[in-house]
Amino acid sequence: MEHIRTTKVEQVKLLDRFSTSNKSLTGTLYLTATHLLFIDSHQKETWILHHHIALVEKLALTTSGCPLVIQCKNFRIVHFIVPRERDCHDIYNSLLQLSKQAKYEDLYAFSYNPKQNDSERLRGWQLIDLAEEYKRMGVPNSNWQLSDANREYKICETYPRELYVPRIASKPIIVGSSKFRSKGRFPVLSYYHEHKEAAICRCSQPLSGFSARCLEDEHLLQAISKANPVNRYMYVMDTRPKHRMQSWWATQKDIGRIIVRISSKIWNDEKIRESDEKKRLNAMANRAAGKGYENEDNYSNIRFQFVGIENIHVMRSSLQKLLEVNGTKGLSVSDFYSGLESSGWLRHIKAVMDAAIFLAKAITVESASVLVHCSDGWDRTSQVCSLGSLLLDSYYRTIKGFMVLIEKDWISFGHKFSERCGHLDGDPKEVSPVFTQFLECVWHLTEQFPQAFEFNEAFLLQIHEHIHSCQFGNFLGNCQKEREELKLKEKTYSLWPFLLDDQKKYLNPLYTSKSPKFTVLEPNTVSFNFKFWRNMYHQFDRTLHPRQSVFNIITNMNEQNKQLEKDIKDLESKIKQCKNKPTDGILTKELIHSVHPESPTLKTSLCFKEQTLLPVNHALRTIEGSNPADNRYSEYAEEFSKSEPGVVSLEYGVARMTC
């Protein structure tokens, strides 16, 4: 609280983000320890969690006050005008402090209290059990076993304690391989396809910069290929773009040649042995040793594949460009599409999707195991492994299964959530929307396969909300070891039970659960299938959304159908009773009243005129009629903006949970 100077400012204006006519709402701004709250004159509340704030800007003073622009990580952008500059300055400074915490313990999760006792909290954390998940996949089995090599995080700090490896891979092989792999991230099992007996494995890049080789690593890969009784050939997928690796490789070879030449010179020439030249050469050699890919000559039964996903820096600036484009006022169609193109965002999404499809095909068509890696094996590798598993296994397309998938391939395998989401005041170059891209790929799949997923778009948006919210412990820290040190399970709550409790909101009404476990999704990745995800990047810009939601209507109707089925059963049994006891009038009367004549779900129905449904329908529809002034049809807006009826007040249900 020491950062808060002003807790309340009145007569603050909230500008419409896209309005060209400076349309605004006036209200009061409150600053709390965790949220910034704006309540407008219609009593509509806008809550902004401090941790969601990506950027606060104080613009030059204007005649109407001091503008304060806040960009959030969930893509909300708000533009306030604070009447007095001093207030604006106070709020600005407070937000700067509050949005960038230096230590984990100051994050919201450590103070958030949903009023649960310790055992409830613990049960929440136990909801997702990865050992259970590996059992579901069918491991351990005759080919795969649980390794205790990393039980004390001795081999790899960023891996979980429990890792599954081929049964024939001995501990020395594992240790040897881990020394050859960047950050010790040696090849381990990510997903086992019981039906095809093929595995998805993951690791980091080999440190083969100087055409060095590592027999243990070669053995471990051989063990993986032998663990597949159907197909001895395995794929090694390097998810990085080939051109980048090749140009890098070329320079490495050159450097290598130079080093060899110069070092022989060094050894021959005593005079320059201690010189700066040698230091520089060492640095070059070190750098060279830090990157690489497997040399096919050294590994048998391997097919090598590059799939071309760009690195975190390219992705970060791509998203930045995308947001610049779609945030433009009065955007033309032409600028929108050329901006979409030049941002490269959809190209990157397609690259991730193509990689996952390649992976899934290797398993389903060839029954081949696949080893996936990028550089460190926690960004692109997580994207490709998790998306590939999702294509292969329908369990991951359920609400619970999707949580398991994130828990396994992202959280436990050390995707650096805190760095990528910028939870703490840290290196901005570590921030990157890698996980957002994964969610977007899943969204594209839900668009192509509307019946394949148990969950809906709101579920994806809610998860995205919480990777940044720091309200729950799941996404804090960068790896399991760090999370244990932070004692997150004792001090914070897990997100998943809260989502499960609320799962009605996240159900896809069109989902068909009957499909068998191994129904493989084969998405079409012709470019025209990729669309801009409006509901993600404009989640809070309601004026850009469709005015009526088919999804809501069908969801409500599904709910209503369940209630009606129940009503029919009740009524039938009551009629039966009634007929059996024709004289017992009093009882019957009571029974009739206990069958709610208008069940609550009926009242909230959106469709079909039936008895009392009508008035409610119209109330709901009225909101959807919306307001022409929100749409900016013309530059004549000033002339057309006389007195307007109440502004459309629809808050997207999804965003509310953080409140």
Binding site: Y337, Q448, L510, T543, I554, T583, G625, R632
Partner: protein, 507 residues
């Protein structure tokens, strides 16, 4: 036109009548050919019989769903009717309102305007002689006629061809009079010219032009540029080409989609239509719309504005009527525009996907208001197909005059007679439809507009999963109806049993 033809709602129940010296009476309101009658349907209560010809003026007011009509009679009496339901109230009001409009048969032999139908609606105060004079001042003889009457506030959309002012600023007193006759006292109107100011100015050199403000002081002119002719055709060709090439990488696809400009045209048209609707509904101002001929962009705007403003045009019959009125009768030259499509290299100047763009715009609104249309996407696709190639006579010819000469009514079948058969209609009905009596304002931001996959990607990607999902949705809705019906039956049964019991209890 007989008065009886104007009666849309002949009877309304639960109407409350207020009049001097009497207590308020609730009863049933009836409209007959000559009288407005209110009866409480009880003996000994006096009924109200009011001659239509006694009505001097009426006012309408709305508070929520309750409408009030205040009738001011020629004998100075003032009475008030409270009518539940906005729709009913508007229907009653428009039936008894003394109309400022009349049907004109001036074009009976297609002599005044070859591209107009024989009957048009014009201001009552303008006689046929004046219309003939105005026709000589407007492109193609297309003098201003009524396109749409907004019942809620009596504002209108008129459409016409461009005025033939030429370089020396010709004017036509009858034209000015005609247009002004559509304005209420003290009101101003808007002229929406679908060309940019530049293009409109250049048109003067060829004898065309636009309304000079000096001569039309009660009107404010707005220029909103909508492309026409070969520019649209080229746009279509580029778009189809881009969609057909599946090998495009992402950058190439996006740049081809952008370069086709198709969605830019969609945005232009929708924006102008929304602007027109805004003038009518929000500004309470009448508008006149024209471009050059008044047969292309003009019709896109007038028809889309009606989709936005008028709930009836979002029903199947209403939409059919809209196409009949605003496209076929209004003289959109289908024969010329739809002779060829995207694959033909002939590139005739008059080929242009004007109608397809209109359908695409409707689809965009349908996507944003998926429950407010009685028809579904298939209906729009079917219309697109028949506009370009059809076994029916409906879209043949370029205007009514040509259709008459071709004796299409005698020699061919009407598309509508086929479409309106129940077996066909079921394919085109939107299961989510629920009448929405409001004006619907779509978003025209680029982020809200989408490529119409049902048309442009139809033969390029399988829609199997989408179709299955649609079917599942229909199933859920059908099941819901079934359950509701069943619950109602059971409730009735139970209630009957209950009353039986009560009867038995109290002998």
């Amino acid at each position: 036109m007989e008065f009886a033809e104007l009666i849309k709602t002949p009877r309304v129940d639960n109407v409350v009548l207020h009049r001097p010296f009497y207590p308020a009476v609730e009863g049933t309101l009836c409209l007959t050919g000559h009288h407005l009658i209110l009866s409480s349907r009880q003996d000994n209560t006096e009924e109200l019989w009011l001659l239509h010809s006694n009505i001097d003026a009426i006012d309408k007011r709305f508070v929520g769903p309750l409408g009030t009509i205040i009738i001011k009679c020629k004998d100075f009496r003032i009475i008030q009717l409270d009518i539940p339901g906005m729709e009913e109230c508007l229907n009653i009001a428009s039936s008894i309102e003394t109309s400022e409009w009349r049907l004109s048969y001036v074009n009976k032999e297609f002599a005044v305007c070859p591209s107009y139908p024989p009957i048009v609606i014009v201001p009552k105060s303008i006689d046929d002689e004046a219309l003939r004079k105005v026709a000589t001042f407007r492109h193609g003889g297309r003098f201003p006629v009524l396109s749409y009457y907004h019942k809620k506030n009596g504002m209108v959309i008129m459409r016409s061809g461009q005025p033939l002012t030429g370089t020396n600023g010709r004017r036509c007193k009858e034209d000015e009079k005609l247009i002004n006759a559509t304005l209420r006292a003290g009101k101003r109107g808007y002229i929406i010219d679908t060309r940019s100011l530049n293009v409109a100015q250049q048109a003067r050199a060829k004898g065309g032009g636009f309304e000079q403000e000096a001569h039309y002081p009660q009107w404010r002119r707005i220029h909103k540029s909508i492309e026409r002719y070969h520019i649209l055709q080229e746009s279509l060709i580029k778009l189809v080409e881009a969609c057909n090439d599946q090998t495009h990488n992402m950058d190439r696809w996006l740049s081809k989609l952008e370069a086709s400009n198709w969605l830019t045209h969609i945005k232009e048209i929708l924006t102008t239509a929304c602007l027109a609707a805004q003038c009518i509904d929000r500004e309470g101002a009448s508008i006149l719309i024209h471009g050059t001929e008044g047969t292309d962009s003009t019709l896109q705007v007038t028809s889309l504005a009606q989709i936005i403003l008028e709930p009836r045009s979002r029903t199947i019959r209403g939409f059919e009527a809209l196409i009949e009125r605003e496209w076929l009768q209004a003289g959109h030259p289908f024969q010329q525009r739809c002779a060829q499509s995207a694959y033909c290299n002939s590139k005739q100047k008059w080929e242009s996907p004007v109608f397809l763009l209109f359908l695409d715009c409707v689809w965009q609104i349908l996507r944003q208001f998926p429950c407010s249309f009685e028809f579904n996407e298939n209906f729009l696709i079917m219309l697109f197909e028949h506009a370009y190639a059809s076994q029916f006579g409906t879209f043949l010819g370029n205007n009514e005059s040509e259709r008459c000469k071709l004796k299409l009514q005698q020699k061919t079948m009407s598309l509508w007679s086929w479409v309106n058969r129940p077996s066909e209609l079921s394919k085109f009905t939107n299961p989510l439809f629920e009448a929405n009596n409001l004006v619907i304002w779509p978003s025209v931001a680029p982020q809200s507009l989408q490529l119409w996959e049902g048309i442009f990607l139809r033969w390029n990607r399988s829609s199997k999963y989408l179709d299955e999902a649609y079917e599942e949705m229909v199933n859920i809705i059908e099941y819901n109806k079934e359950l509701q019906a069943k619950v109602n039956i059971l409730r009735r049964q139970l209630a009957e049993l209950e009353t039986e019991d009560e009867m038995q209890e109290s002998p």
